[in-house]
Amino acid sequence: MTADQLSVSNTATIETLQESPLKVNLMELGFLPGKKITLKHIAPGNGPMAFRLDETLLALRKEEAAIIQVKIV
């Protein structure tokens, strides 16, 4: 599944990042295979999603989260 399909408070491990021009931007923020992310908040109206990655909270749009292939822990 992809990260945009997670429910709030789900924790998942990143498996791969799908091909996209934004792939490298996600990687530079630390979204890398093997890392654990937890979905913390979703903004109303299918808005951006806030993930906890290591010690930080990062907000991504839904279609950006869809680049991240994950597996629920």
Binding site: V24, N25, G30, H41, P48, T56
Partner: protein
């Protein structure tokens, strides 16, 4: 200062300060340099160049504060600058040393950029900031281990609590930076043989730099045409998939950093920070928006309440200065120009400072506490259908107080298209300068009555005007979204930083710097236009102007009481304005504005208030020779109410005309200060011109429709 003057031949060392966003870099910059800061410009972009001087032990050092970035890959104008300075592409801005600030809690992300800097071959030192937060999160960084892995000097600081700043000064003074050689070799992720001619042409001493230049050099519009062409040609023949190389680099780099982190970072226990409780409320689907609305309301209340005091003082000061000059200088055109053109022109610039400073103060507080990125998070979804970005909310909201700081705040938006749309529509938000116009006109035609027992009709009309502005913003943004084209992909990747108390010193410095930028950059244009408008409003065909003056002097000689003299003076100044160049222009445009329900007198006020909307009120007062205190709304309103159209015999300011005027002011670009700022932010006259044309057309059409509906 004496020491630096005595040795003018030694070059002042330049130190560039770099780091991820929200790591306390600016706090360190402020503490190192204090008020010795200067805001300049980088050629070719709108990014502010923040430079400061640090004095230590009799020496001074130039500190350059670079925009925050996560990597050397440039995604926005800000990051192009980072790319340019750190790749040392510009001789002027070339730093001797680089000081990299890392947030101790986010070591891996910080190291990503730090190791890129190492690979560029820069002379580097690393500051691990926010050591207090790391302690709170139960993290321990083995500094010495990290030093061994990276090979660059490492300092620990807590800039927010002024800890470790002296050590930074000492480190700079000792020039304790090092260049340890690559963290990862460029040949690990690409074929470096392909880069040898890049190195040769640009005279670069390592492959990583050549790769950076080839991959991103074209993004920097500051690069000379010759170099750009060279890169373009090279890109066509080069046998490397640069994009794949970049991905590979990122992977390898993070892999190596992870292994470093495993050895230097001790996690005592994992704690989910307490801020998630605060986020539960502040990001709540209902409470989140309500609280945001409440905070906005508080900010506007404060701006209206606090800014009006200094604004009145500034107003009074410049009025006094004008009248003092009129008396002190010998009578003549020079004295008039100074007292009535230049001084009020400068006053017209300075008067905006309280609003700009306060608004930027509040924005800095919201930014610094970490709340602003939450607002972006909440609003992004609702802005996107209109071609705007979550970050557009800051300029739009600022626009309710004043479009100037709003347009200035739009530069934080990375995507060109979204930034341009934001700049183009922000002046449609009803700013505080429209309020006096609205209030006078509403008072004229909307009865002060209540419907349903508690809703005041006048308040309702005012609310309607503000809403009309918002509708204008959304509709225009939507239209621009379909017109403007860009290849850049819009994205939102923002950190929601830990909540913190604001750093008051940084807030004050932001207020000071933003006001200064406004005065120096936009001030010149505003002053020039004020003077032109003053000349047009004061001078006219000499024969008519002279005869009005002679007539006035003759009548004054016959006047018996001071009241009579005052009345003659007023009538004369009204006649002078009517016959001035602006008056002639007002008459000339009468056929054009007649369908909106305006006569030539209103035309004069429209042209005169091109400089600033609030001028409408005082111009109307002059045209209709309203005596007494021109600030007194009631007198102006009564006089306007009495005006009868000589042709139709009806009131000039009937419902249809008044509403048409209000709607005109909702949409019209009647503010040269905004135009001057748009000129500065877009680096040219193209966009301010388009903006003026589209806003005026919008105003014209909307006013026309309004007039037809009400008449």
């Amino acid at each position: 200062m004496a020491e630096t003057l005595s040795s003018p031949l030694t070059k002042t060392l330049k130190i560039a300060l770099i780091g991820n966003p929200n790591v306390g870099k600016t706090t360190i910059f402020n503490q190192l340099t204090g008020l010795n800061q200067k805001i300049g410009n980088y050629p070719g972009v709108t990014v502010d160049k923040k430079k400061g001087v640090m004095s230590y032990q009799g020496n001074s050092y130039d500190i350059i504060d670079l925009p925050g970035t996560y990597s050397l890959y440039p995604n926005s104008e800000d990051e192009v600058i980072v790319h340019r300075v750190l790749n040392q592409l510009s001789e002027v801005e070339k730093p001797d040393f680089v000081l990299m600030v890392i947030d101790s809690v986010q070591l891996s992300r910080g190291l990503f950029l730090a190791t890129q800097l190492i690979d560029l071959g820069l002379n580097l030192a690393v500051v691990l900031n926010m050591s207090d937060l790391a302690e709170k999160s139960h993290l321990e960084i083995k500094t010495f281990e990290l030093f061994k892995k990276l090979g660059v000097p490492i300092l620990r600081t807590d800039a927010r609590h002024q800890k470790g700043i002296d050590q930074i000064r000492e480190l700079i003074h000792q020039q304790n930076f090092s260049n340890p050689g690559p963290f990862i070799e460029a040949k690990e992720f690409l074929d470096t043989n392909e880069l040898s001619d890049v190195r040769e042409f640009f005279q670069l001493d390592n492959d990583y730099r050549a790769y950076q230049l080839l991959r991103f050099g074209l993004k920097d519009r500051g690069l000379s045409e010759e170099k750009r062409t060279w890169i373009l040609n090279k890109l066509e023949s080069v046998n490397i998939d640069l994009e794949a190389a970049q991905l590979e680099e990122t992977k390898i780099r993070y892999r190596k950093i992870s292994s470093v982190i495993q050895q230097v970072l001790v996690k005592k226990e994992t704690v989910d920070a307490e801020e998630s409780k605060l986020d539960k409320v502040l990001l709540h689907p209902v409470w989140g928006y309500l609280i945001f609305g409440g905070i906005l309301l508080m900010i506007f209340q404060a701006i209206f309440a606090w800014a009006s005091v200094p604004m009145d003082l500034i107003d009074g000061f410049f009025a006094d200065l004008s009248s003092w000059l009129t008396e002190a200088l010998p009578e003549g055109p020079i004295a008039d120009l100074l007292a009535e053109g230049v001084i009020p022109g400068i006053g017209g610039v300075v008067i905006f400072i309280p609003q700009i400073a306060l608004l930027f103060g509040f924005l800095a507080i919201l930014e610094d506490t970490g709340y602003m990125s939450r607002v972006v998070f909440l609003m992004d979804r609702w802005m996107r259908p209109f071609g705007l970005h979550g970050k557009s909310i800051v300029p739009l909201v600022s626009g309710v107080a004043c479009a100037i700081p709003g347009v200035m705040a739009a530069r934080n938006i990375g995507n060109w298209k979204e930034k341009m749309i934001t700049i183009m529509v922000t002046p449609l938000m009803s700013c505080s300068a429209r309020l006096p116009v609205y209030i006078i006109l509403i008072g004229l035609v909307v009865p002060n009555e209540h419907i349903l027992g508690f809703i005041n009709l006048q308040a309702l009309a005012l609310l309607g005007l503000y809403l009309l502005g918002v509708i204008g913003v959304l509709a225009t943004a939507y239209g621009l979204k379909t017109i403007l084209k860009t290849d850049e992909k819009s994205f939102l990747m923002v950190e929601l930083p830990t909540y913190r108390t604001p750093r008051w010193k940084d807030v004050l410095l932001t207020m000071y710097n933003k006001s200064l930028t406004f005065v120096t950059a936009a001030g010149k244009v505003i002053l020039a236009i004020s003077i032109i408008l003053w000349i047009l409003g004061t001078y006219g065909p000499p024969s008519t102007m002279d005869s009005i003056r002679e007539d006035r002097d003759a009548k004054i000689a016959l006047a018996e009481t001071p009241e009579q003299m005052e009345e003659i003076e007023m009538e004369a100044s009204s006649a002078l304005l009517e016959n001035s160049f602006i008056g002639i222009m007002g008459r000339a445009i009468e056929p054009v504005i007649q369908p909106l329900g305006y006569d030539w007198k209103i035309g004069i006020a429209l042209i005169a208030s091109f400089a600033a909307r609030e001028v409408f009120v005082s111009t109307m007062a002059t045209i209709y020779s309203i005596g007494g205190d021109p600030e007194d709304d009631a007198t102006i309103r009564e006089t306007l109410d009495r005006q009868i159209n000589p042709v139709t015999g009806n009131k000039v300011f009937n419902k249809a005309t008044a509403f048409s005027l209000m709607v005109f002011y909702v949409f019209a670009m009647q503010c040269m200060s905004t135009l001057a700022v748009v000129y500065r932010e877009t680096k040219g006259w193209k966009w301010p011109l388009i903006q003026t044309v589209y806003m005026t057309s919008l105003a014209y059409i909307a006013a026309f429709i309004t007039y037809q509906i009400f008449s």
